[in-house]
């Protein structure tokens, strides 16, 4: 009775990932750790998304607010009292800026990941399917960009787009586009490799025989099959987008403090405070980055593990199926960039 119950929900590929979550409760005790990691990741990610959405309600002050009815905020005030997490050297409320920072981060993730998925997937499909000299040139370019330190690529792009400083919308698009250029090669490589493999499959040949156009084959037959690994790359990239944004902000390519709150920028300003023992200006934005990236990564890894039948099988049977070398390699490759 309990035997058929386990595989059924897991085998349904059309259900979005959140529908498959209840399945975790079906797992036996041997996956307790895995379940714990997924839940922890979901809680952290959920907290991040909620904070971003509810920032106007949660934050006690505005991100660029320097005074209230009682007068100007004190500068570098230790946590406590009216300012729960203290104030910065310019008199901003740390708690408010940490909360508003979630909103900036999520906007940049959405812009960056959406743009790089669209461009990377299209280029990968076309390059892998058509092949020839176009494929070779694109591969060489993608490899060159891929091998290069992503932060430097982002710096160059940030210089190009904004010349450094910008408003909220401009800044988010500048950071987003800078990060996009870093990510495109990743999507490109994964999708292209899958496309090249799928191109040789019998169902593509059948589609050709029936007279399907190249565009239809690409958009229907190959696209659907080639994009299975995307959720994993998506979560990993979302976390990397936050880190790159923070790196850019730390270098001073962030968004002006008057137009948005940005964790990396705040950390840059906090660097000078550390020598005098002022810890609260740096600790809290830094913790926000760590927890957000941690949450997203935990979700990504758990999705990866649960999607991999070999990993799942091994855990539930305790048997000796092969180790998950391939998926881990993808994850490592993605994050190693």
């Amino acid at each position: 009775m309990s035997i058929p119950a386990v595989p059924v929900p897991m085998e349904s590929p059309r259900a979005p990932w959140y529908r498959r979550l209840p399945v975790i409760s079906h797992f036996n005790k041997s996956v307790g750790l895995q379940r714990g990691m997924l839940v922890a990741g979901l809680v952290l990610t959920g907290a991040f998304v909620l904070t971003a959405l509810l920032a106007p309600l949660l934050a006690p002050y505005g991100f660029s607010q320097l005074s209230d009815d009682d007068g100007s905020f004190p500068t570098q005030q230790a946590p406590g009292g009216k300012h729960l997490l203290g104030t910065t050297v310019s008199g901003y409320d740390v708690l408010s800026r940490v909360i508003w920072g979630a909103q900036t981060a999520i906007l940049v993730i959405v812009v960056a990941v959406a743009m790089s998925i669209v461009v990377g997937v299209v280029l990968g499909l076309v390059s892998g399917y058509i092949g020839g000299w176009l494929d070779r040139i694109l591969v060489v370019i993608a490899d060159a960009v891929y091998a290069f330190p992503s932060l430097l690529v982002a710096i160059v792009m940030a210089i190009v787009i904004s010349g450094g400083q910008s408003s909220l919308v401009g800044g988010i698009f500048a950071a987003g586009t800078a990060i996009t250029l870093v990510f495109i090669p990743q999507y490109f490589r994964v999708i292209r490799a899958e496309t090249v493999r799928l191109k040789a499959e019998p169902f593509v040949e059948s589609a050709k025989v029936v007279g399907a156009s190249n565009i239809r084959i690409m958009s229907r037959h190959i696209y659907r099959n080639a994009t299975r690994t995307l959720p994993l790359i998506f979560t990993l990239n979302a976390s990397e987008a936050i880190l790159t944004l923070a790196g850019l902000g730390f270098l001073g390519f962030g968004i002006e403090p008057s137009s948005a709150a940005e964790w990396g920028f705040d950390l840059n300003k906090a660097l000078a405070d550390t020598t005098s023992g002022i810890w609260w200006t740096g600790l809290f934005p830094g913790m926000a980055i760590v927890l957000t990236v941690l949450g997203l990564t935990l979700v990504g890894e758990s999705i990866n593990d649960l999607n991999d039948p070999r990993l799942r099988g091994r855990k539930s049977t305790g048997g000796s199926s092969p180790a998950p070398v391939d998926t881990a390699a993808i994850a490592t490759e993605v994050r190693a960039s």
Partner: protein, 363 residues
């Protein structure tokens, strides 16, 4: 490093299914082809960086605009040749690069090459130190995690690995600084050495620029201690970033090799678990690390930029940040191009090492 290179090729045979015999062409040919591939990579990056940077306008206007009167600005643009067609400038730039001329910085008028050699050694030292930390932390912990797979120790180490990755290197550096320098007062806050030892080391004959090496060579133990004290925190901050990746990689690969027949055979003959992990499963699992190490060089260089700013470590990254603030894009371009060359060269070397260890790579 030596253990990696010493790994006998025969150990690797179990890792992959048997591949086809190489169709002619030995190691020499592989090295040659791989070497020639460096040039398109560098060429593409140089081209991209050049044109992208020029979209913002000519470097002189960007750096000096608003500070110089218009006619002087025009004069300088003309003198530097930035008023010519962009393609002419591009080919001239390529020609200069080929002869090792990276131009002069705009803000402090130094030869970019000289600036690169002065500060490059500091970045090299930081990267070597960090790589040591990463290997010393990542490999043993990875072995432990693989051995204790799915146990509590494994869970803790996996979360540790993710935390290493999730913590921005400048935040890790800030926390280390706050704890060990400001509160405990054990280690210096910033810099590469105290002024006296820095003077002693730079006045040496033919210094390598890598301070601990120079201190060792000159037998200056006081300076060595000082340099090492300064090196600890930046190396740990940057090293932990990579240690997490090594940990995961070792874990995955050792688990892979632990399941192979020859390990089982060893176990059935009574080889101890400890010896199985450290001898039998460990060496073949190290081969993928070499490849990933090549990719890690890029991550490290990116991280080095941020680490150097955090610890005021006067290397390329620290200079890069200064020139970015000053909007001196000639200098920025020089640093970026140099880093591109370094990345391409290290990837080449890593591929050659991998081919030397594992003959199947030489397709």
């Amino acid at each position: 490093m030596t253990t990696l290179i010493d790994a006998p090729p025969s150990d690797a045979d179990g890792l992959l299914p048997a591949t086809k015999k190489s169709s002619g062409g030995g190691l020499g040919q592989y090295i040659l082809i791989r070497f020639l591939l460096i040039f398109p990579t560098i060429f593409i990056l140089v081209t991209m960086v050049f044109f992208l940077m020029r979209i913002t306008g000519d470097p002189i206007t960007v750096a000096m605009g608003g500070r110089l009167p218009a006619d002087q600005l025009q004069e300088r643009i003309q003198a530097a040749g930035y008023d010519r067609p962009i393609l002419v400038q591009y080919f001239e730039y390529l020609g200069q690069l080929a002869t090792g001329n990276f131009g002069r910085t705009l803000t402090d008028n130094r030869a970019v090459v000289e600036m690169l050699t002065t500060y490059g050694s500091a970045t090299l030292e930081l990267s070597i130190n960090a790589l040591l930390v990463a290997l010393l932390v990542g490999i043993p912990l990875g072995l432990v995690a693989a051995h204790r797979r799915d146990k509590a120790a494994d869970a803790v180490l996996r979360v540790f690995a993710i935390l290493c990755y999730a913590t921005p290197v400048f935040f890790a550096g800030m926390l280390l600084k706050l704890t060990f320098s400001v509160w405990l007062g054990w280690l210096p806050v910033a810099g590469r050495a105290k002024t006296p030892s820095e003077l002693a080391l730079t006045s040496l004959e033919a210094p390598t620029g890598i301070y601990w090496l120079d201190a060792l060579r000159s037998g200056n133990m006081a300076a060595l201690g000082d340099v090492l004290a300064h090196a600890v925190l930046p190396a740990v901050a940057l090293g932990l970033l990579t240690a997490g990746i090594f940990l995961r990689l070792v874990r995955t690969n050792v688990i892979g090799t632990l399941g192979r027949d020859y390990v089982e055979a060893g176990r059935s003959r009574g080889v101890s678990e400890y010896r199985l992990v450290t001898k039998h499963a460990y060496k073949p699992a190290l081969i993928p690390i070499i490849t990933v190490m090549g990719l890690q060089i890029a991550v490290m260089l990116g991280g080095a930029v941020l680490t150097e700013i955090t610890f005021e470590w006067k290397g390329l990254g620290f200079q890069l940040a200064n020139y970015l603030t000053a909007r001196d894009f000639v200098a920025v371009q020089g640093i970026v191009v140099l880093l591109a060359i370094i990345v391409a060269l290290t990837n080449f070397i890593v591929d050659i090492i991998a081919a030397l260890i594992d003959p199947r790579v030489r397709y």
